[in-house]
Symmetry: C2
Subunit: 341 residues, 2 copies
Amino acid sequence: MHELRKDPILSRWVAVLKDSMPPTFYLEKNIEHVMYDAENNDCILCQGSEDKTPPEIFAIREIGTPPNASNWHTRVIPKINPVFQIEGDLGRKGNGMYDKMNSIGANEIIIESPSHNTPPEDMGISQMIKVITTYKNRLSELEKDPRLRYTLIYKDCGKTAGELFHHPHSQVIATPVIPKGIKGELDGAKAYFYYKERCIFCDILNEEIRTGERIIMETDHFIAFIPYAPRFPFEYWIMPKRHNCAFQDISEEEVKDLSLVLMTTMKKMRTLFKNPSYNYVLHTAPNRMPRKDHWHTLGEDFHWHMEITPYLVTKSGFEWDAEFYILTTSPEDAAKYIKEV
Amino acid sequence: MHELRKDPILSRWVAVLKDSMPPTFYLEKNIEHVMYDAENNDCILCQGSEDKTPPEIFAIREIGTPPNASNWHTRVIPKINPVFQIEGDLGRKGNGMYDKMNSIGANEIIIESPSHNTPPEDMGISQMIKVITTYKNRLSELEKDPRLRYTLIYKDCGKTAGELFHHPHSQVIATPVIPKGIKGELDGAKAYFYYKERCIFCDILNEEIRTGERIIMETDHFIAFIPYAPRFPFEYWIMPKRHNCAFQDISEEEVKDLSLVLMTTMKKMRTLFKNPSYNYVLHTAPNRMPRKDHWHTLGEDFHWHMEITPYLVTKSGFEWDAEFYILTTSPEDAAKYIKEV
């Protein structure tokens, strides 16, 4: 027996199975288990191979070491075959009834660790703080380019999730338009704000704390929870308690706390499913969205957060095309299973 | 070098590679090749196994044969573990700040052929006409239930596409809400109609015929073409020339012509990629959308069509989450390759 649930931000209905499947159901299926147990001398992202990559754009490194030398903690390099390129103008044009423009933007690889075989959830809190700080740097820097409307930071881990390298890394894509998946979320949050005069994410935060049944972890500054109507079983979100639309305005205290929550929850999820492939995506406000101006409500209707999705199931054509997802484990059961690990 | 293109209906930007990859690029990759060369005595959808399925809902069969006997051409049965069920009331309810309802609807399997091992594109025109006629029957019947808002007919072929059975079949899902993927298309077409007072699909049809560069096939009643900004390489659409929002109002002439276009284009696509997994989805107006009333413009802003998607690539997290697709073959090249087969 299923029940239908509506995602309050996107107005997307999903069907949730009430006689929920336990995590063992997914392990029986053919899910990809991502192993990090081998060194790889050919890996160009490893420490010592700095001369095999394009020159670095940014790095957190040992004091006194020059760019592109060893002894770094995190390192940002351009993607080798980029889809978006930084040089040129936007070239917005009509083409008969259609519209096109040049593929202006940024494509960067964030190397999360000098070491090839340390899973992100085991890298240690001080390293994770450096990764999060690198995210903050890229968002702050790319926001300065007036041609770029959005900066997306995401991580693909495992072949099913479309990973590029096996070495721990994230990716940055900055685009001259707002990607449709993000636009839908921004529009949904704006419509709610117009109707309620409250941030929908703040309301979700309060509702999740009130019921508690979908929460995986709570700290001073964050909650991690399974959303009420997710796309996939065991998809979870990490959301700051303080209202803030832009990730780059995160405080030092919050960076520490986020590192702890991200590592702890990923470790639990990894243990439960024997390290499945997954991705996570940082959802933040568009570039240059005015947020300091106290005369207007701009920035009041969005709230940055992270969405983490393990790949445990194969989508059908119905899910693909109609965007009507079928959940085989209820969010409440999924939260309980992850919490108990 | 990529260029960005905007889908005019969904306002979704995609990146299109201009130094386009030829079809051989996809064959080198690990795409699934769906074979139909074996009989299967255990298949419950085969002729002769009628007693192993739930009783049929509808069938096109030899004159004089009783329901659930052999000698049928197409047969519709309920899905065995349905997500949606026909009995009960909608039970719309609040749940704190969230919304839910009962999973009322229909889940049906359309068996397209009595024979296990005939690919749809080789079943012959008279059999394909019966399949299309069965689609028309299901849409007309399910539309009568006032609880159901939308009926989606789709086909998953191959494991990658999420197929349920290997025997040629399509599926019907009728839902008490409009699935988000369809809603976005309806809203986009409505916004265009509001602005231009013309059907966006009619405009696309005229534009595609005018330029001709993305057309695969044209007949008296239909065009088959690669859309200007698709999600996937070699995705193509079949669209009737006559403006008509609802598939169930298709004429007999159009049924014949559609059968020819669907079989011919699928045969070309199958030959080009050695039978990849694919799905197709029939996009039609919501149930009971008023369309006969000449006082109003209802039904003037939508235009039924079919979308056919071969699975040649794996999506990355960026494509998944941000819905920003990267096309490795341009629509113009893809149309040329399919047309030339």
